[in-house]
């Protein structure tokens, strides 16, 4: 009698011998299965992204060859360039050719200096990545503590200050904020350089000195968005969720309830907003790189547009779109890693 009482009901339900499973990648573990499914789902989205880009760049009115050569080009010159750019082929043929080449890692050559586009991308990518990672790290480092402190007492002093700052930040276009930063730190205090890039190979210190202003300019907007979302979510949980009440009733300290119970669950909404904001983040790198003279993807894109260098612009847009899709995929996978309900294939409540 006592034996049956102490045994947990879940254990007795489990069959003694596990049913044999078919060996294979898909059956290895629920987490792997979910991951594979999500990756496969992302493939059509990436494909769609390349297709939309190609449509936009090729179906817009105006002949690319004319745009490249200027208005006073002779018809023969236009015809020659059109042939070189494959503009004579039907749209779908061109798309399939480009897609086939892209799948083998060939994104074409720059019209400006005939350099392979992949080489140009390879040079620009690390700069942008460093900028984005720095901005992310800065934003999260400041946003999480701010949100927790603000949510500790909704409507209190810290909350009001934090929310006013983030409202302010959401309304300042990032280039305006960047100019103010330049005005204060480069023109006024003369402590940081206003423009220029130092590769990481020439020492981490000088590199960071060049990167810190642009990264802060991007991070500020991110910080505001993250703080607002995280704070709203924590406040919501503190008011509604039973496990918060339980933890409080058990006598858990108020900070611990905030950090260990509420913050942990709010990570999901933070993740969502991080994934969703990624497109905007890439957009802001375009402006900020241009302002601070960083030779990243954004500056490359602008140069490509200015030179009417179609293969380069196309490659940049596709790569940026793929980054956004990839960010969404990673967000999705992180959900699966963090949430046992998704990990084990059960629908989340």
């Amino acid at each position: 009698m006592s034996d049956t009482l102490t045994r947990s009901p879940g254990r007795s339900d489990r069959p003694a011998v596990r049913p044999p499973r078919a060996a294979g990648l898909l059956n290895r573990s629920p987490a792997v299965r979910v991951a594979i499914k999500r990756v496969l789902q992302a493939v059509p989205v990436v494909w769609g992204a390349t297709f939309i880009t190609f449509c936009l760049m090729n179906l817009l009115p105006g002949n690319a060859a004319v745009a490249l050569l200027g208005d006073d080009a002779t018809p023969e010159q236009v015809a020659a360039l059109s042939a070189r750019l494959n503009l004579d082929e039907p749209f779908l043929v061109r798309y399939l050719q480009w897609l086939g080449n892209a799948l083998t890692g060939d994104l074409g050559n720059s019209l400006q200096n005939n350099e392979p586009v992949t080489a140009i991308l390879g040079r620009a990518l690390p700069v942008s990545l460093e900028l984005v990672v720095l901005a992310f790290a800065l934003a999260l480092l400041v946003a999480v503590p701010t949100a927790v402190v603000a949510a500790k007492r909704p409507g209190g002093f810290a909350d009001r200050i934090g929310m006013q700052i983030s409202m302010f930040g959401l309304s300042v276009p990032n280039f305006v904020f960047a100019l103010v930063l330049v005005l204060v730190f480069a023109v006024g205090l003369r402590v940081l350089p206003a423009v220029g890039y130092v590769p990481i190979g020439q020492g981490l210190g000088p590199n960071l000195r060049a990167m810190i202003l642009p990264a802060t300019a991007i991070a500020f907007a991110l910080f505001c968005e993250y703080t607002r979302v995280l704070r709203a979510d924590i406040v919501d949980q503190m008011l509604r969720e039973d496990y918060i009440t339980t933890a409080r009733a058990k006598g858990v300290g108020s900070w611990q309830v905030l950090v260990r119970h509420a913050l942990r669950n709010s990570v999901f909404s933070l993740l969502t907003i991080v994934g969703l904001q990624f497109g905007a983040l890439i957009g802001s790198t375009v402006i900020i790189e241009q302002m601070f003279g960083l030779p990243g993807m954004g500056q490359g894109l602008l140069q490509g547009i200015n030179n009417r260098d179609i293969p380069v612009v196309q490659a940049y847009v596709v790569v940026m779109a793929c980054f956004v899709v990839g960010a969404n995929l990673v967000t999705d996978l992180l959900y699966a890693v963090l949430d046992p309900r998704i990990r084990h294939g059960r629908p989340a409540a």
Partner: protein
């Protein structure tokens, strides 16, 4: 992608006054507290008044005050005049153009682009979302998937590409921006329509033999529109920021039409000698956007719209 966008209420607080005591403002006491709070909502009339003044200054003032100097035909003899010079209240820029008239003209460009691109996005996106949700089935799935792909794009990048390829002009900037506001409005309209579709009066209309178009136009659209309009204030702010960014990068409206973004970008070269060339248009831009954002938030909190 299975990532759902967060409930809009979590993106911007204020949608749920119960969860967010901050936006509710100080609570007046007394029997008529609720009504009094409605009438004196600071979040509504302060930004509303400022926006009204900005609109008046940008659109009406140049009509009334005919002596306003031209924003582009300044003379180099009058370059770099300090603020409060006779005839030039805020001085002139390095090309001798009057800053006040450039500001007013720039505000007109910003507001025109913001409002028009929003109207287009609201009309096209709203009807698309409403129609998709009303019809349901594969039509809805395909439309929403396509729009999801558009949302996944880094929109500034594409606006940049589109507006350059269409040759820079105000109209093309408007088209490019509105194109990317369509998915957001479609999503909102769809969510609202899905709720409305099950309402009794819609079922009643259908039973009474009303045609689909009549149900959509007479019963669903009037209920979806207020929600979209409230949200569109926030989008006007976003559109103005995008327009300013484009002009800042030199890909926006052509140089014959001064805009705030362009003024900031031109002033950048003189940031150490004349920082006011950057700060004045930046302040205008910021003021407009912050007013639109606060007004939008306050309206949403008031109406309880998502």
């Amino acid at each position: 992608m299975a990532v759902q966008p967060p409930d809009l209420a979590t993106v911007r607080p204020g949608a749920d006054p119960a969860a967010d005591p901050l936006d509710a403002g100080p609570r007046p006491r007394g029997r008529t507290g609720r009504r009094a709070r409605r009438r004196t909502g600071k979040g509504l009339w302060i930004p509303g008044t400022i926006l009204g003044l900005i609109v008046l200054a940008c659109f009406v003032w140049p009509l009334v005050y005919r002596d306003l100097p031209s924003p582009t035909a300044g003379s180099l003899l009058q370059a770099n005049l300090p603020p409060f010079s006779p005839g030039h209240l805020l001085g002139t820029d390095p090309l001798g153009n009057d800053i006040v008239s450039r500001l007013l003209h720039g505000g007109r460009v910003s507001l025109e682009v913001g409002l028009t691109s929003n109207a287009i996005g609201l009309l096209l996106g709203g009807s698309l979302g409403m129609f998709a949700a009303f019809r349901g089935g594969w039509l809805e799935t395909v439309t929403m998937r396509l729009l999801d792909m558009l949302i996944a794009f880094p929109s500034l990048v594409l606006v940049l590409v589109v507006s350059t390829y269409l040759t820079p002009s105000k109209l093309n900037v408007i088209w490019a921006i509105s194109f990317f506001s369509i998915p957001t409005f479609a999503r909102l309209a769809r969510a609202a329509t899905l709720r409305l579709r099950e309402q009794v009066y819609v079922v009643a209309a259908r039973l009474a033999g009303a045609r689909d178009s009549a149900i959509l136009l007479r019963h669903i659209a009037p209920n979806v529109l207020p929600q979209l309009l409230t949200y569109s204030l926030l989008w006007v702010a976003a559109a103005i920021a995008i327009e300013a960014s484009l002009s800042f990068l030199g890909f926006g409206v052509p140089a014959s039409e001064p805009s705030w973004g362009m003024m900031i970008s031109r002033g950048q070269a003189y940031i150490s000698s004349n920082p006011e060339l950057v700060l004045i248009p930046s302040a205008c831009l910021f003021l407009t956007i912050v007013c639109l954002n606060t007004l939008g938030d306050a309206l949403r909190a008031r109406t309880g719209a998502p």
